[in-house]
């Protein structure tokens, strides 16, 4: 296929579209920023800082989910549509663990017990995420590896539907409140800093989320760059058939990739629960979409890119509605809008390599 010489493109229509959209967009952006920042001056520095902090923390969660998308995409060139739902199941697993500890009274017995309980919640969340992701690959994706590209994508959509509705049927539609231990109760415990005469709270859950996500990314980088497993993953990403000829068990490597992405999704789910305190069957959908946006923004298939994209998206999402003076209801629109813009202007993302169109 690659040997076909592409005809030189001389389509005028499509050449005009991109600059036109770009100019319009920049003009709009400038106008809104000018109105809000110079004319209206609604918010003080403390509010901006609050937005930025919440953005960074949210972005850290997006980044961890985005890592899972990127890994799977890097190896299989397919979007794991159900990734957000794996995260949701991880969040549920963490929730039930914490509830069980809470019910037996161990959760708040002492600081040590609290840390232990949160740790166990993370481990169980990760294990559940891993199990679900591996099962997903085995059942829904592996039989379709040689099918045309649309086929596994449809199967992934089906898997996403299935997981969401299974969670709804099993656990009900109530929105459950995460039982954080008292030492990291959400929205009340944290460090206070004073900016412009106003208190700004940096919550412990937020710090925990951020630090953990950075650790997970470093761990993943080491795993991919330094270990034998990572090496075989990179080989499979490069060329499955040649990798198989070199004695790599391709099926197992792909299974491992899904396991790692599931671990990351499970961890992200527990972080989400601890930080935002709410878990229900639909909790994975929107973060999943946003994390996908983040992965594309950073350059899909690229690990530091996913991290960068996640943080950028988180900050943009929480700062932009205020900065552009648009209603906060439209926050979710923004992420999709950014996704479309990135795909129009820089489909390879911020740090992405130039992929051939076949891979895109």
């Amino acid at each position: 296929m690659d040997s076909i010489v592409r005809p030189k493109r001389t389509f005028r229509l499509s050449r005009l579209i991109r600059p036109a959209i770009g100019v319009l967009f920049l003009a709009f952006l400038g106008w809104r920023l000018y109105t809000v920042l110079v004319v209206q001056q609604l918010y003080g520095p403390d509010t901006w800082l609050r937005f930025a902090i919440s953005g960074v923390i949210l972005g850290a969660v997006y980044a961890v989910i985005a890592l899972g998308y990127t890994l799977v995409y890097g190896v299989l060139f397919m979007i794991n549509f159900a990734h957000g739902d794996v995260m949701m199941l991880g969040a549920f697993a963490g929730y039930f663990t914490l509830e069980a500890f809470n019910g037996t009274g161990l959760l708040n017995r002492s600081v040590g017990w609290s840390i232990f309980c949160v740790l166990i919640a993370f481990i169980i969340g990760m294990l559940v995420g891993m199990g679900v992701a591996v099962a997903l690959e085995r059942i829904a994706y592996r039989p379709l590896r040689k099918a045309p590209r649309l086929v596994p994508l449809i199967s992934a959509i089906g898997a996403s539907l299935f997981l969401e509705n299974a969670a709804q049927l099993m656990f009900g539609t109530t929105r459950r409140k995460y039982a954080n231990p008292d030492i990291i109760a959400h929205n009340t415990t944290g460090w206070n800093i004073v900016v412009g005469g106003q208190d700004v709270l940096i919550t412990y859950t937020g710090v925990l989320t951020f630090v953990l996500s950075v650790l997970l990314m470093i761990g993943l980088l080491i795993l991919v760059k330094r270990t034998k497993m990572g090496k075989s993953m990179r080989a499979v990403a490069e060329d499955k058939e040649v990798a198989a000829l070199m004695g790599i068990n391709v099926d197992r490597v792909i299974s491992n990739t899904f396991a790692i992405s599931g671990v990351l999704a499970g961890a992200a789910g527990v972080m989400w629960g601890l930080h935002l305190a709410i878990v229900y069957h639909y909790v994975g959908f929107i973060p999943g979409m946003k994390a996908f946006t983040a992965a594309v923004m950073g350059g899909i298939g690229n690990i530091p890119g996913a991290m960068l994209g996640g943080l950028a998206l988180g900050v943009m999402e929480s700062v932009a509605p205020a900065a552009l003076g648009m209603p906060f209801q439209l926050k979710d629109v923004l992420a999709f809008f950014i996704l479309i813009l990135v795909l129009i202007f820089r489909p390879t993302g911020l740090l992405g390599e130039v992929l051939s169109e076949k891979k895109m």
């Binding site: 829904a140 379709l144 099918a147 089906g158």
Partner: protein, 507 residues
């Protein structure tokens, strides 16, 4: 010893399957349905038939994976699979029952485990006894499954059944009458005409409920035929179809509802809605022209969500009524007579279906349709052959969107209401599922898909909660077993088969 391991594995897998069947409340559901159909009072029968069926499957799987070749090996494999499966289920049942006995409200965590549903599994016995009973039943199931599978393989039951079926088929085809019908040139037309006639007469005898159900199915046929052009013909996976549906719906709402003061007639709003939806389709297609497959799916999904969130937000309340939606959308009237009852709407919808079906079937053999299909198969090759893919992508989006607009206008007008919750992602997924499950690029396939996915759940009301779960599972199963759909177009089936054969032989 690897035989033992794979027997355990089979037991483990089916054990997990049955655990989820219990946790998802499917035992209770099947029990209820079976009890209703056979008008028996107990739900036990249905529930245990289901659990036992899975146990049988586990035994059969164990035999296949161990390749047992004697009766003794077979029974051992079945026993191992049955026992491991039984232990899992017994632990589950024992645990749940003792938790309930200890006064824990299990329902707060696992919604489906009502006392009623649990009694199906425990037979009202104390936890330990119940667990042992479950273990015994499942073990028997596993062993019998293994023996049945072995017997079937040994005496070639499957082959002889297939031979009987094929024989019967050939005999029917050999009848001169059938051959005559097959060769008669107008058979197809006559079948269509008879079908249409039945459809036209049916609403007179059906009650309001049936007319409503049939109308819903019909509406989804229109939507499915439209999406079929985008997904089935042109191969562009589109997940934001509900957005165009919404544009049709909101157009008719704004133009006819009294609260906006325009109050035009339905018949004027109809073409405007279609044109607006098509224009939006063109607008959406421009930025996504160069994207393929996965990216296109996500961007269109994002687009659908953007439209829905915008419709729901305060920003456009003056036009969309925000989350409350628009009430009193006008129905159509003919010569001054109001024709907006369910009964009349059936005919409007049938008109829409006929229009969509005719356009689709004309497209299939036209230059335009062939260009779409070439693009679906291989964009690069299509371009090399002189197909201007960018233009055809825009056209595909526009035509598909126009059908969605038509559906939206009819939908909003029929409900006399439109609101953001009518246009969720689920609508897009529903339409996509029915196109894929029915058969891509096949008109009877889309109709069949709509009947199965929208009509069947209407008839089986108990299934309603499980509908989306079943769709998800169906999408996966169909992709694995029959990616061409239930009633595929001949060409599409050939293409998919060919692709897999080639891939397989190239490795």
């Amino acid at each position: 010893m690897s035989g033992m391991r794979s027997s355990f594995r089979s037991g483990l897998i089916v054990g997990i399957v049955n655990t989820f069947i219990v946790l998802l409340g499917i035992t209770n559901l099947v029990g209820t349905i079976v009890a209703e159909w056979f008008s028996i009072s107990s739900k036990l029968l249905g529930a245990w038939i289901l659990l036992l069926a899975v146990a049988l499957w586990g035994g059969a799987r164990a035999v296949r994976s161990t390749q047992a070749s004697t009766w003794k090996d077979t029974s051992v494999a079945g026993l191992l699979a049955g026992v491991s499966h039984g232990v899992i289920l017994a632990v589950l049942v024992g645990l749940l029952a003792s938790l309930v006995d200890a006064g824990v409200t299990v329902r707060e965590v696992l919604v489906q485990i009502s006392p009623d549903a649990l009694e199906l599994l425990t037979f009202g016995l104390p936890p330990v006894v119940a667990a042992l009973v479950v273990l015994a039943i499942i073990t028997v199931g596993g062993v019998s499954g293994a023996l049945l599978a072995y017997a079937s393989a040994r005496y070639q039951w499957q082959e002889s059944l297939a031979a009987v079926w094929k024989n019967a088929q050939e005999k029917v085809i050999a009848l001169s009458f059938v051959q005559g019908v097959q060769q008669f040139a107008y058979t197809r037309l006559i079948v269509y005409a008879v079908g249409l006639a039945i459809l036209l007469v049916f609403p007179f005898f059906a009650g309001q409920y049936w007319n409503y159900t049939l109308g819903t199915v019909g509406l989804y046929v229109v939507l499915g035929l439209g999406l079929n052009i985008v997904v089935g013909m042109a191969g562009l996976l589109h997940l934001g179809y509900a957005a165009f549906f919404a544009i049709g719906g909101y157009t008719v709402a704004i133009l006819t509802a009294p609260q906006f003061g325009i109050e035009w007639s339905f018949w004027v709003a109809l073409p405007i809605g279609i044109v607006l939806a098509a224009l939006t389709g063109v607008l959406l297609s421009l930025p996504v022209l160069r994207m393929r497959g996965d990216y296109l799916a996500i961007v269109t999904l994002g687009f659908g969500e953007i439209i829905r969130i915008l419709a729901k937000s305060d920003a456009l309340t003056n036009f969309t009524g925000g989350p409350r939606g628009v009430r009193d959308v006008a129905g159509p009237s003919l010569f001054g007579i109001d024709v907006s009852s369910e009964f009349h709407f059936i005919y409007v919808i049938i008109l829409g279906i006929v229009l969509a079906a005719v356009i689709t079937s004309r497209l299939q053999n036209s230059r335009l349709g062939r260009a779409f299909m070439a693009m679906r198969e291989d964009e690069d090759v299509a371009q090399t052959m002189g197909v201007y893919t960018l233009k055809y992508k825009v056209l595909a989006f526009a035509i598909g969107a126009a059908f969605a607009g038509l559906g939206g206008v009819i939908f909003a007008s029929r409900n006399q209401f439109t609101g953001p919750e009518d246009y969720t992602l689920l609508v897009s997924v529903n339409v996509l599922s029915l196109v894929i499950i029915g058969g891509m690029n096949s008109i009877p396939g889309v109709i069949l898909g709509a009947l199965v996915l929208k009509g069947l759940p209407e008839m089986l009301r108990e299934l309603d909660d499980y509908r989306m779960l079943a769709f998800g599972a169906l999408l996966i199963v169909m992709m694995i077993l029959r990616p061409e759909g239930l009633w595929p177009s001949k060409r599409r089936a050939m293409e998919l088969r060919e692709a897999t054969d080639q891939e397989a032989s190239s490795l």
